[in-house]
Amino acid sequence: MKPEKLADILRKTIPPQVHLPAARAALRRELLNSPYYRQREARRRVKRYLLSALATLAVLLAFLIPNLIPREMTAGEIIHNLETAYARAGDFPGIHYLKMRVEVVSTQLSAMIEEKWIHDNYREFRVLTRAADSGEILGHTIIRNDSTYRRPEDRLVYDIRLDIAETDSAVETTGDAAPEIETAESDFDVRMYPLAPRPGSAPEETEIQILFTRYSFNFESLSRQTPWDVIARLKQHPAVHYAGTVRDSLSGEQLEVLEIRRPAGGFMMRLRENAVDHRAIRRITDRLNEIDDNSAEPLQIDSYRLYPLLLIERIEVDAAENRIHRVTRLLRRDDRVYERSAIIFIDDAFLPYDPAIFDPGRFGLEEE
């Protein structure tokens, strides 16, 4: 028999057709009531419970995590928080007490500690300045009822009127240029520092470093700075950015760092000591004043090549307390720092008003 014939036979074969309705109904009942569905239901309930528990946990974590994980703040957030905190403090009716350390480093460190008591928007003002290393009083001044009182032997005599004029509306400053530490647009100042001789070099090979800047970091300009001035400058400077965190070497606290980098509008050059020609330096200074160049490119004046300097201002903020801790200014080219100044706000407090704080007789001050 051929397979095709067998296939034909099979195709025509009608196998027995059997139906078992009772068995079928029984099986259906059993299947639909099987533990599978009961377990599924139980599992579904557990799953629903777990999902709702997870959702609750997720909501809780969403609230908690931002507080648990340190988040990198933006410069804008830090400035806004500072401004809010200091503005609130500015409404205090008592005496604003500021204690700060001012450092200037060029070839050596000079530092002084300055304390200020300010009442009623400088209507009463007292400033006491000491040398940081010896504690010697360098200057002590009180302004009260439009009169100025000083010690006759003061070595530091500041133009307090200028301080008041600049600081009076610092935080409210919005449209005008932010108050700078240095007096802007002054003529170029020239500073010459001899560099330490290289080992084995002849005395005539000693190099002189010459800085041409429109300002120098000096105590007068630095000590005028208040936190309000710093905030106003931060608010208005387009180049301010967040630069990470540092740990304060003394307190161990973590501080957020804001930074402003810009061309300093100053230049530097180096000459051998025996090649320094003061007439040539004067010519360079005159030329710089004429061209008023703030470019970041090296300048060629006569046969001298001058390299532009970068001014970096770093503001360290205690974000937990919303307090400015330190302002550092660096004059830099490449990785080398040529000058550095720093203001450290040691104490910034509000005291109840006490007229004795502004009593010149108590401190032996004489009216000018």
Partner: protein, 205 residues
């Protein structure tokens, strides 16, 4: 009599609907009940024609649906009717059964006859009737006897093709093989069956 258990080919819309029904059946016994109603007869028929034993077919059909329910969460939709998956499970159940019990003799008619008539349930009674029907169909019993001697893969294709009236493409879907492979399997199965029938002229006649 016709080969009435044949499941109709599904349209794309029916396939989409069945996919939704299978998804529902994972959670909802009512949906599984619909699938059961749709395919019980076809699966029972296939197993019956593979085993020629009503009691065994009932038992293996039950196992098939229990296994389907248990493994429903593993079912992955491949664009084929749900029945293809059920046929595959049924085939595996039959093959596994014969591997385990080569001389199976389950629920024979005598077992029921020995019981008192008033002890028989409705299901027992319909099973007795089914066994009697199968016993009467000598031609089918003898043909089944010869088919059952073939390898399971040949039994599968012959049963599906000639007793369940499945098309080559449908068999290919059920067995997970290409239509060409199914044709070749079918050809070899018929050749082997022919040889067996040639050795038993009384069966061939």
């Amino acid at each position: 009599m016709t080969k009435s258990t044949r499941t109709a080919e599904m349209t794309p819309a029916q396939l989409v609907d069945e996919r939704r029904l299978v998804a529902q059946a994972r959670q909802d016994p009512t949906a599984f009940g619909k699938l059961f109603d749709r395919y019980y007869d076809a699966i029972f028929s296939y197993i019956l024609h593979r085993t020629a034993n009503a009691a065994l077919a009932q038992e293996l059909t039950s196992d098939t649906f229990y296994k389907a329910l248990d493994k429903l969460w593993t079912f992955r939709w491949r664009g084929l009717p749900f029945s293809a998956w059920l046929y595959r499970i049924a085939s595996n159940e039959v093959n596994a059964h014969y591997r385990r019990y080569r001389n199976y003799h389950a629920g024979s008619l005598d077992d029921y006859r020995e019981r008192l008539a008033d002890e028989l349930s409705e299901a027992d009674r319909e099973l007795l009737a089914a066994e009697a029907l199968l016993e009467e169909d000598v031609f089918f019993r003898e043909l089944h006897h010869q088919i059952a001697a073939l390898k399971p893969k040949y039994q599968e294709v012959i049963t599906l093709r000639f007793f369940e009236d499945k098309k080559i493409r449908e068999i290919a879907e059920i067995l997970g093989k290409s239509p060409g492979t199914v044709k070749s399997l079918l050809h070899r199965a018929l050749a082997q069956l022919r040889d067996r029938l040639a050795d038993k002229p009384e069966a061939a006649s």
